[in-house]
Symmetry: D3
Subunit: 243 residues, 6 copies
């Protein structure tokens, strides 16, 4: 089975890191294709970055469709373009925020999120509300690390994340922590060992949920509002999307 | 004062119609620039259309910034790219769904929405929940009209909308109806006269709210998560967005 | 157009102050009549004060109806008598708490309220819940100033409000602050300059929203539960309300 | 123990009927004083009626305080002036809507409300939301009976209420029905016998809850926002309220 | 009238203490039978303890039915087996958490809970959400006292509870405190005197509510989902439950 | 890896059927042990049945612990004893209602539930609210089939379920249907083929989620309220639970 793990930003090193994390947890028969759009922001730290990256996500799903993909993962914690991506395919599509929230509620009654920048906390809050998990989450915390610092300086970033996770453990009355950035995918084990609390990481969560859905033959419903988009003309640089 | 009314789809006739509706309600000193992106879908009838259109909205806000715009309106009922657009400017930005919901709660205790296609009803439901208006809305109804039929065949579309509005009036225990498509902007008066209920139309609502905010010098907060996006590199066809 | 700005308490100096603030933001063609009931509490700092003041609000709307009023503003942060007032007129009626909440959500994703006394915080909490804005508001704060101190000693009161607003800015992870008392209407600019955050003030917000609704010919719906009250007899000192 | 049952409207026959219902369920040592304000609407069928009646409720509580009252009941289904009344006394104060909702959740998992006029249904909806019972209530139904018809023509009114209750039983998937008007207090037993479902009636519910609170020495908290109102001057016809 | 007060744990001394508290507030004609199951945990401090204790609660209701019981109280703050118990009888059944929440909202607008162990706080949170009282409760606090310490060392436990209640009073902006354990039933008066805030205790609250329902002839609805369980076979050690 | 699938009722034929469904979707390395308690109800159709069955679930988890189990599934749609079971193990524990809800939200925006008896619909409603999925579910429907009829007369039961699913498809504006009974595990494919909508079945969903959690080494958090229960004495027929 083929899972396309889409890093919505265009930083190739992060895509590779995410791909390695994804492959490490994949089932024996699962092949991971880790990819990122050619076009888009090198990191996603704002609503604007997120909106632009959704185009790249859709492009990657369209590519995936031509290659016979069985499931998709959107590997950015804001789940950019999630519903749009679902419309484009019969395969299941998972966002990593969504995936992590789901699993966190299965192993704890309350969790906190540790994300990169406090300015993106609102994105997590909006997703929690929309998905229905707001009352399961005690607090959205930020380690105040720009996303690309996770690439450059793993050690320093790791320390700050661990410190914030420890504060969450001490103050938030929780049973688990959700990591709030796809770029933290390779750090989950170290954080868990340092903090002593279950750490739910979205990339790995989403890969396994994608396998779950695919193995149950539960693809995105094509009945109702996630059916393929009505065919229509697109103009200008999006003309290739016409159908 | 200059308000840029952005039709997120690329159908110029709809843009013109929206511009006329906007200008008709604008204050004497307000100049309306009705515009649409060069690139994007000719109508917005899916999550996918919406995601693509958000790029055009951002482009139009960036253009607007170079021309000294005082406020922006996003004239599609899904409010595509709203938070991204807010990040790009100190000026206020209004979505037409948002605007209509706000005004509807000021003149009635409960309202219903009459939109185009039932498949896009979920978009309105998500916005109602996110904005906090879910309990004010009795029902999201669809007249089952493709968006561009509003351009081609006004009379037939009008009849179907009026019929659905009458059903809402008879069955929903409401005080007002919100029209769920920017392409209905020119029909509001006729619908109101035919139905006998206050009709809240988003384009006109948003223009007046934009004037309101601008006149109170209340621009988008640049403190917190709607501050300008962190400067960064964009790649590929989005390279021009780099800062 | 004529807007009747009703200060629900009977302190004439506050009414004048509110009237000046209202007129300052009004459109050229708008005439503000700032008024207060003859009968009622000199300030509103409890549920009891609020209940009594609602009678005066209704009286003022009835007076306004005889004078051909185009819109009404209820200039107390508890929005006393709002739904009753709406029943009495075809014109739009705006409360200042309501108005401020609406605008605050258009320029920020999260706001805090700074009100006078902590004992009235519950009134704001109830309104936030009823209107649907509870999740947009991080915190209801009190500067612990009796309402009439806003009349007597502006400077001292201003300092305490500014201090509380600064704490809100530093601690609450917000983009804007809503001022929680009609008596603060003249302080908004100074507070904004001192705090460095958008300050949403209800009197000015409500005046502009009243203009917005009136210009769109959106009056209070007379279909459903805001229709004119069923005619009936009133007894005793309320006999004049019989119809 | 002395319970003052306040009928917020000024129809003496209804007050007497309510008083009889109250006395019938009262404990042996409980004395019921059924009373209504001198001034106010003869029935309560709108937000406006409700706002005016709140003054009379407060007057009656003030009278009650001079007579050494142990608990108060506000016998109108909108619970008018409830929080204001609580501020005026150390004794417990119960609204009949509130009381009925509480008891209904103790004997069933879901209930429906059958009230008089559909235009007042919104009042029940607002109370359900504010109190926290919205998800326990399947539906707010109206028998479309003007309140005073409950005085004039008991038989006809009874039939319409029973019919609506039967529809609730058949269609709403409920375990109990809440009667939505103080004027139905004497009809509860007949309705229950005719419908075959537990019928929760607010006057009797509130009297017993008032006894419950009083016997547990649980009066209205005077710590926090229900403390006695801050002393102040009232003007005009409300001058007698000054303290 | 006969009320069976069921202590769901098997510590007889606690049962007696609860019985004394119950009898002290009971009406003259009410006889309290305080009882506990033969089989079950000696204290309830986890979801597991709670699940096991629900069997004992059901057993005690079945016994009560054979003895002609008029109402039941489940005297553990998690309300274990509440809905199951309701199915087994036409009599009303009250949980003490439920009972305390109801009364607390009648005398204050916001309350806090002081319970024994922080690990059981989640049980209170779940009940608050399910019953609809989440927004009335500011905070769930724990005095960190194992339940049986309430039996062994009243004085020390009392001090810790009083300390936590004082913190609630000082920090939580509340009007009342709910005691979160049946084992605190005898301490309520002392705590109230020491803290200076209304203290709502569940055993006494539930007894009076049980009397209230019984006197109004409001038993558990046998229409709908609380009807007697469908008759069926039980196996093994539960064979005696077959019907 | 070893998954213990616990049928909480004591009907062995249903356990076998559930086991077969579970094994069919299990990964190659997964061994399914399908089991049921010796003691308990032969079917679960009430709150009472559910309460009793929770003891058996706990027993089965305790047995499983002695046999080195990697994950548990509770195969009854009310998820009886779920939190208690989680306390007893470091392994993940999944309920089938929970599992089905999670997956349904990943492939559709809105779903309906088709369960056996309408009297148990409230159990699903309570779970939806507690888990946070209430707004994702349009409607809880019942095919009005006693649980054991699923054993006796598959064909007739299947027809009724298919009919109800078709009504859901036609009337509910949904993208997927959740089957509301563990006894329907073997019918999912037939129902899907007959109805033409994705059908989410809980047993298979839970097995795959159990594998997911186990493969990610995400066991039930032993930090906080799901830690092992405090050791204590149990009396009577539960003495063997003492620790």
């Amino acid at each position: 089975m083929l899972i396309r793990v889409i890093n919505p930003n265009t930083t190739r090193s992060m895509t590779e890191k995410i791909g390695i994390s994804a492959q490490r947890v994949a089932a024996p028969g699962t092949r991971i294709v880790a990819t990122n759009p050619d076009s888009g922001p090198v990191s996603i730290e704002s609503h604007f970055d997120e909106a632009i990256s959704a185009v790249g996500v859709a492009d990657e799903v369209r590519k995936g469709e031509r290659e016979g993909t069985d499931a998709y993962v959107i590997a950015c914690f804001g789940d950019p373009g999630l519903l749009a991506a679902r419309e484009l395919t019969r395969a299941p599509v998972l966002g990593i925020a969504e995936a992590a929230f789901h699993l966190a509620t299965m192993i704890s009654t309350r969790f906190s999120i540790v994300t990169t920048l406090s300015r993106t906390g609102i994105i997590a809050e909006h997703l929690l509300q929309s998905y229905g998990f707001a009352h399961h989450c005690r607090r959205v915390r930020a380690a105040e690390i720009p996303v690309l610092d996770l690439e450059d300086d793993g050690a320093c970033a790791l320390n700050r994340i661990v410190d914030e996770c420890r504060r969450a453990k001490d103050e938030d009355n929780i049973g688990a922590i959700v990591l709030g950035c796809g770029g933290m995918a390779d750090l989950a084990d170290e954080i868990r060992d340092a903090v002593g609390l279950p750490i739910v990481e979205g990339v790995t969560a989403a890969v396994k949920l994608a396998e779950t859905l695919a193995s149950l033959k539960l693809g995105t419903s094509k009945f109702g509002d996630l059916a393929f988009p009505p065919p229509k003309r697109f103009t200008g640089r999006f003309e290739h999307l016409s159908s």
